[in-house]
Symmetry: C2
Subunit: 192 residues, 2 copies
DNA sequence: TGCAGAATGTGATGTACATCACCTAAGCCC
DNA sequence: GGGCTTAGGTGATGTACATCACATTCTGCA
């Protein structure tokens, strides 16, 4: 399906834009293709874009002490991702983004987003709504972390995104859940 | 200090509003006072307001199995709080809010916020920015949960909000950190 | 096609934390 | 001011998980 139509359908769910306004908005996006394993944002990079996934699957992750990786988000089609902390505060990336599979993304610069938000009220409305949705998801995940054990979080994740089971290696799922790959392995193979 | 001036200073940091626009915005807020221990939102309530703290300290929390409490947020002056999930999705409250100390808050209904956001572009801008800030804080806390042990999270919390140490009973700090009160007690008293 | 590296399984052991049980000290209320 | 509630400390014990170590596939690619 056409990237432009995917983005359009996504935005029009929340905001009311004329065709002309949407075309103007869309003219600020750039389509890029990435290969499996390729990095989009690496730790220490200057960050000035955010990314809307058209196809494939990305991960946004943090690496601690150059050893442990924690996955903040698997980004699937119609999801947005970036290191938003670095993007908004104009600091260097602490969160990295790369491709779990081949992927196509639409890139939007921070400056362009802010410009468009100033020019088109409904665009600002859309981005408010989108951020709000991210905030609620993040809060829900935080609660799940405090409240549920690993097994429950694992089942919750697979219930929400069944595709992940085949798409994503298990050690990445462990990194999302915040446990070691060994523990995850023992969890779903008998050995209780 | 005057509630109106506190809110005005808070909003004008991010958005550009004329006095007339701000007065109009402010006319939708209602000031309320609450006593220490009083509930603002209880589990199961219909939620249709969010709250801007003028003075005092609130907590937003979740209770699991009618037993364990997890604190999502301590809300201090100039912070916003509510059960945003229930507020936006028009569902019943799963998150409760009550007062750790006597408090004054400005109440804004969801309907009024949406109305004003539609009418005043800069108001929408402010609320986008505010949500964004909440999203980043939530993501940071999530990372801290995965990455740091309890002691590090405790020190991080006190470094960020030194007032909490005297203002808030220790078992509430434990509920924020997601550990038992016993563990927290052992942490900062010698017994390593 | 054959080999290197990645992904995964599984045992042994250590540790941070929960839980239960009980104790002390400090508000608070009629 | 005596009793009740709430906050907080501390020991004993159990458990979920990390970590280390190694074995076993699987997979991409030269």
């Amino acid at each position: 399906m056409d990237p432009k139509e995917i983005l359009k359908a996504h935005i029009l769910k929340t905001a009311t834009l004329t065709d002309k306004e949407f075309d103007y908005l869309f003219s600020h996006f750039k389509l890029k293709s990435f290969k499996k394993g390729q990095a989009i944002i690496s730790e220490g990079d200057k960050v000035d874009h955010e990314y809307f996934v058209i196809s494939g699957c990305l991960k946004a992750f943090f690496i601690n002490d150059e050893i442990k990786m924690y996955i903040l988000q698997f980004a699937m089609p119609t999801w947005w991702t970036s290191d938003y902390g670095a993007l908004y505060n104009h600091t260097r990336a602490t969160i990295s983004v790369d491709c779990i599979s081949n992927a196509e993304v639409l890139c939007l610069s921070n400056d362009d987003r802010e410009k468009i938000c100033g020019e088109i009220h409904q665009a600002e409305h859309f981005f408010r709504w989108r951020t709000n949705r991210g905030y609620l998801a993040s809060q829900k995940r935080l609660l799940s972390f405090m409240n549920n054990d690993t097994k429950a979080r694992y089942e919750e994740l697979l219930a929400m995104y069944p595709q992940l089971y085949n798409l994503v290696p298990k050690h990445l799922i462990a990194a999302y859940l915040g446990v070691s790959r060994e523990t995850l392995s023992r969890l779903y193979n008998g050995q209780k």
